[in-house]
Structures are given as structure tokens and as C-alpha cells.
Symmetry: C2
Subunit: 239 residues, 2 copies
DNA sequence: CGGACAATTGATCTACCTCAAAATTGGTGG
DNA sequence: CCACCAATTTTGAGGTAGATCAATTGTCCG
């Protein structure tokens, strides 16, 4: 649960007692294959899924195989926290890489939030930040060019990873294909590819073997008009 | 506060005592002009805004005057509920029509949620549904055509209004311009106009004088692949 | 070494945008 | 009741970002 505590402390403050309560949350841990569904659109889960290791993503398929990706998740995230208060899933959650996840019964989460209102507030806050990120992606898909959109998501992912200690020196893992990136941003994989080449040509980034290196952070921020306010990060892990 | 109770009961169940507690929430009521900002991007509000009458919308402006609208709000909504747990606004909230709003201090909301954990859960649920709608709009902007997108938002708005008793017989108020609609869906006003004409031509809708009439509900559902699950409506007001 | 998947390239197409002007509408004051 | 104004809607004429389709190449792994 350490990774969850670290995540929550990146967006709020916890007392020792609260950390302790989170530590002793019961959990059934499991290792999952890459690209494996964890919860599906239409399911009515009775537990939440805490990502301990690896990456996951949320998505929805609409007729004719069109796919929209809503978010990418890293260790410490509870991507389906919402299922605690919304019975029926309106989208799916799946692993991106091999992943270790801990399943926590809704019952245990409910007990925890009942005993510690501050933890409830922090978790609520987490789902609100989730929504803030959705809004920012909406801005991208509605009003930014492909180039700006891709630059923007790179800035976002880097900061999110840095906040939980998974990135530093403008270098971070990025285990997603260009198809995934397109489905997250509302673009075709072909166009994603061309924009990436343009960015490489301008020495903004390097992207090879699942590793993203941001060569020009300031410039990437500038072209995407990136303003991290919406991530609502309280503090950052050194890095 | 009756309108708030009705809204919350459209997505969850309240006890008599809970209804009573909501009724006695302190509020400073005010009438606002059309198109007037209520809270602005960057503000740190100390109160929430309950919409009693009229419409509001949330939006964000990015460089060069590009605007993205995130949501439309009707009586019963608390469009900035998130400010309760997220200190700094990352977008703005404004009226669309003349509107009556009640400002409720964060302090009162916090007392209320502390005393009634079930109300906290319902409000949390409300913000989660808000996020679910954001996701559906993301699907639209990322993967649906302009035609599908417009048809989809009409279905959504009609059901949301019906749920709080503001629409019936496939007819509802819609006090928004084609420019607003475009900024909500990531389209130009010109293109919105052409798509609307196409829909009129096919007798799917009538849209005049701020009133939307859905002439062919089933067909509108079909072309937009509309599935209301994501609205997570518990029950509907008769109508 | 082979097979599968991901990235890349080329060629063509189109949904939607931009710009600009005209027509319509709704509200306002005389 | 009418004339007028501002905002909105509508129309027309290009223009383009990004899509689609179809190979080809590169990469990772067993």
C-alpha cells in the first residue's frame, strides 16, 4: 500500500494514523498479463483495483471498433475508484503492461472512509483531479491541433510520473503504442507518427523503446500552452 | 433547496432527516445577468454555487480566444461542487441565461457532509457522474462525427432535463447558441449550422427560439449510438 | 530464423475549417 | 406598431489538417 500512500500524499496530507489505516487495508494481490481487461464496460464490481506495479488504461469501444482512451494509470492509482459510488461501469479498465494489482473490497473502502472522513475527502479529491484531467483532454480534442495535443500530453504524463517518483531528468517510461496515443487524443496512428517525427526533427523529444525523453521542456510547455494547475499537485517527490 | 433535493433524488435516495438537513442549509441568494461569470479560472472560492433557476455552463479559454465548454447546467446542479475539495479553479463558470443562484459556504457543506456521510456519498456520486459525462463527451470529440456528436448531446440534454422535470413530450428548452454548441463539441459554428439543417431536413429535430423538439427520438438514439447508462439516473420524474 | 506487431512512408481523399457577406431574428425605444 | 440595432443564423467559396488505405520496413522475442 506504500505506493498508494505516496500517491495520496502527492495530492494531500495524511496523518500517521491515516497512513496506518491505509497500510492495513485488506487486499488480494494478483499479477496480470499485458493488455488484459480488469473491469469491463457494464460490469458491477464489488471491489476496487489499486495498481501496484505496471501501467493500466481506461477506454470505451463504440460501434465499428472505434476506441477512445480516457486515461493512463501508473502505480499508486486506483483507476476504478469511482465504482465505489457508481454501481455500473460505463467503460473498461485494462492493463497496458504486465501489472501487479491489489483488489480491495468496496466494503473495506467504505469502512475506511467512514472511520476516516479525511481519507474520504482525499479520495474524493483524487476523483475530482481525475475529472480535471478529463476536462483538459477535452480542451485538447476540441480546440488544440494534433501537435499541441501530443506536446501537452507529454508534459502531463511527465509531471504525473515525477510526482510519484517514477520519472526524473526529463526522462520517463512510456509503454504505449502510437495507436494508443492516437486513441487517447482522437487522432489516427498515421498522423501521430508524423507529428512525432516533426517533434523529433525539432529536437523536442526522443521516443524509443518505451522511453520518452523530453529534450526541451520549456519549448514543449510553450507550444502546448501547458499549465499544470489542473493536476492539482500539492508537492512533488524530489527528482 | 427543493430543486437540489429533487436533483439528488434523481441519482440517489435520501432520508427525511437528510432532506431536512439540506433544506436548512444557509444560502445567500442572488439573481445574475445572462452571460455573467460566477467563478473564474484561477479563483479560490470559499463557497459553492447552487443553481436555482436558469442555465449555466463551465468553460475554459485557451490562447487566441479558443474556448472549450465542458458542461451545461440546469436548476438543481451545483456546477462548482468540486471547489469543495479542489482549492483553485482550473476553469470558469458562468450563467447562460438570467439565473438565480444560491451561494452556500464551503464551511456549511463540510458540516453537512460530516454530519451526514450518506449526503457526502451522494454528492461525491454527483461529481463522479459529472466525470462520466466528461468521458462521454471525450468519446464524441475523439471518435464521433459532427453529426453523431450533435445528435448525442441532444439525447443527453433531453434526458438530464427530463430527470429533473424540466422536459417532457420530447420538447425542452435549449437557451444556447450554435456558437456555444460548437464550443462544447469542438466544432465551428458554421459546421454546427449545416449539420442542424441536415437534421431538420431528415425531420429528426426542430430547433427554434431556444426550444428543442426531438421529432424522432429512436432515430436520434440510433444514429448517435446513445446509451444513457453513463448518466447513472436512478429514477425519473414522471413526464 | 520466423512471426507478430509496431513504426514508417506514400498517395489520395474528405470532413470540417476559415473568411466573408447576407439574411433573419428578437428585443428596444420611439 | 414600426423602425432599428445587435446578435445569431445562414449561405457561399475556397482551403487544410488530418483521415484512410495500402504497402514497406523495423523491432522484438521466442
Amino acid at each position: 500500500m506504500t505506493v498508494l500512500i505516496r500517491k495520496l500524499e502527492s495530492i494531500a496530507t495524511l496523518s500517521a494514523e491515516e497512513r496506518q489505516a491505509i497500510q492495513s487495508l485488506p487486499a488480494r494481490t494478483r499479477v496480470l498479463e499485458p493488455r488484459q481487461d480488469i473491469v469491463r464496460d457494464g460490469d458491477k464490481p464489488s471491489q476496487c483495483c489499486l495498481l501496484l506495479d505496471g501501467w493500466a488504461y481506461r477506454y470505451k469501444i463504440i460501434g465499428e471498433g472505434r476506441r477512445q482512451i480516457f486515461s493512463f494509470h501508473v502505480p499508486g492509482d486506483i483507476p476504478d475508484l469511482q465504482s465505489l459510488h457508481i454501481g455500473t461501469m460505463d467503460h473498461s479498465l485494462a492493463t497496458l503492461t504486465e501489472a501487479t494489482v491489489a483488489f480491495i473490497p468496496h466494503k473495506s473502502m467504505q469502512d475506511l472512509t467512514a472511520r476516516f472522513p479525511n481519507i474520504a475527502a482525499v479520495l474524493w479529491r483524487d476523483t475530482l483531479i481525475d475529472a480535471a484531467i478529463f476536462r483538459e483532454w477535452m480542451v485538447g480534442m476540441g480546440r488544440r491541433s494534433a501537435y499541441e495535443r501530443i506536446a501537452h500530453i507529454f508534459c502531463e504524463l511527465y509531471l504525473k510520473l515525477q510526482a510519484v517518483g517514477l520519472a526524473q531528468s526529463y526522462r520517463c517510461p512510456l509503454p504505449i503504442t502510437q495507436i494508443d496515443l492516437g486513441d487517447a487524443l482522437g487522432l489516427s496512428n498515421v498522423h501521430v507518427n508524423r507529428v512525432l517525427q516533426e517533434m523529433r526533427g525539432k529536437s523536442l523529444i526522443t521516443l524509443r523503446g518505451n522511453t520518452l525523453v523530453i529534450e526541451a521542456w520549456d519549448e514543449l510547455n510553450r507550444v502546448s500552452e501547458f499549465d499544470p494547475t489542473y493536476l492539482h499537485l500539492e508537492k512533488r517527490v524530489a527528482g
